[in-house]
Symmetry: C2
Subunit: 343 residues, 2 copies
Amino acid sequence: MQKVNIILVGFGRVGRAFYELLKEKYDYCRERYGLFLELKGIIRKSGAVLLSGTGKLVTAAESPGGKPSEPSNWVQVFSLEDLLEEFKSGVVVDCTPSDLKTGEPGYSLMRTALEKGWHVVTASKGALVAHPAELAALAREKQVAIKASGATAAALPTLDVGLHSLAGAEILAIEGILNGTTNYILTRMAEGLSFSRALLEASEKGIAEPNPVQDIEGWDTAAKMVIIANRVLGTEIKLSEIKVNGLRGINEQLVARAASLGKTIKLIGRCSRENPDAPWKVEVGLALLDPDHPLAVVSGSNKGLIFYTDCMGYIVLTGGKSDPRGAGAALIKDIISIYWRDF
Amino acid sequence: MQKVNIILVGFGRVGRAFYELLKEKYDYCRERYGLFLELKGIIRKSGAVLLSGTGKLVTAAESPGGKPSEPSNWVQVFSLEDLLEEFKSGVVVDCTPSDLKTGEPGYSLMRTALEKGWHVVTASKGALVAHPAELAALAREKQVAIKASGATAAALPTLDVGLHSLAGAEILAIEGILNGTTNYILTRMAEGLSFSRALLEASEKGIAEPNPVQDIEGWDTAAKMVIIANRVLGTEIKLSEIKVNGLRGINEQLVARAASLGKTIKLIGRCSRENPDAPWKVEVGLALLDPDHPLAVVSGSNKGLIFYTDCMGYIVLTGGKSDPRGAGAALIKDIISIYWRDF
């Protein structure tokens, strides 16, 4: 039995889903993995809140009800540093919104956490895209983990498989559909909708984020592929170096034309190299897939990834819930994987 | 840097592939994982052979050339016990042929290895099907691992994903195409071949084993599903308790009829329960899949598995080389996973 202190930073859609799921899974994680996953504090822009061991909210002001979903109940009492000092060791869970250029605010908070010897589990892409080598070196120095399932297709186990299930094999290329919004749009366009109609539908269904520009332009796919490549292949690819084409230029005629050729248009992120001595490169763009391509069947807001290897053939992963609850589950999985072994 | 002693038992198709791949991957495993994977001995029915650290064969008789593929070069000098004593700790790799009823010879050799505190990595289903609880308890007592990727779809990471990538999630059902031979036969029958013609082709291509009865009758699928269920769900399902229907009764008419309904016939292993309080049960049999079922696209000798979960949606795995080299790679992966962490 082991106690794991958890500090959650960021309380948007994913942070809340993580918070709810952690309460729901507390007993299960204790029984199955021998881990007491204790949420000690939540930090958000508008304030920080400290929880008791049972997950009951204990704000400094002992606010009535203490519902974390009501910002009026939050009181700025603790900084991240205070909480890290107070609880000594554990996991900082980063659910802050990403800035892909600066990596902030994740970059600063991850550095603070790693410096103090805390593990980091993140749903946030920014810091890992902007400062991958520095953060990896710091984690190595402090002998703690940075786990990023939540930032790289969440419930679909891209990093687990790439790092662990393919251990010993050499990866020849990685190819994936990594963005639910654009795949939903392309799927609906193949069914006859216009781009704008399909986008509207994706927004109405809560698949597309309020501002879907990063998704539509391919940057979300690019960021995920860069994180996967850097972790799994040990590369140091920068987002600024790579060729990213999103859905720009797509229209009903193109989609119909693809269908008439028996093909499917998908937004594909790809990491490959021309030969074993050439540098790895990442590209994002529309691709025409044959019907027997393993990613051709990935429809709607689903995601999919293929690892091509030297001795294990190719491994295809598809599915995995792409909503906040799925992301929350991926964060919990990453925490468990830091502390639990199956023997 | 860590030295890992390896003793290989069994030198059939998979054992040989493992042996070759281990030589090929020696440098890579040292550089990437800091592990010296040292094959110290190979034991087979006709004799045992001891290797030097570099993988060079050193038989007692210093046989010329020392090729392990030539049985005349093998000398019976060491028993498993001798080698375990000599090298103190490490991994025993079991590549012996399976007897699903008695679990032998794997059962005895696994017990011997575990008793002496050695980890076991196996490509052999028998022992895990016949004596799962006893072996698991022994491994727990000795705090060593039994890793069985090689016995449960090899390069397709069924156990990794079920145990680790879904940690914290509850699995609601598992469904899979786990046998390459029968899936190849059904694929070719859908393309117009008769059963016997398709089987002949599978044999000629080296997909079907010399005696494919266990595959055709569904017992191979059943054994793999039982191992996956017992490991991932913590059940203690016995092969003798479950309903197994293989390809018996299949014919061209049935396959054509399915196609006329727009469906595909697949041999599916399934583990499910009627409600969360009901016992888990495993079934194997032919199923009609809709074209959008994730396993409908699994063709030829490929395999596929779906985990249905409570909070991660469903995760689909397909692909993974199902030849001896893929199995050898899965064995190496399992060894690495015992010793290597990514932080």
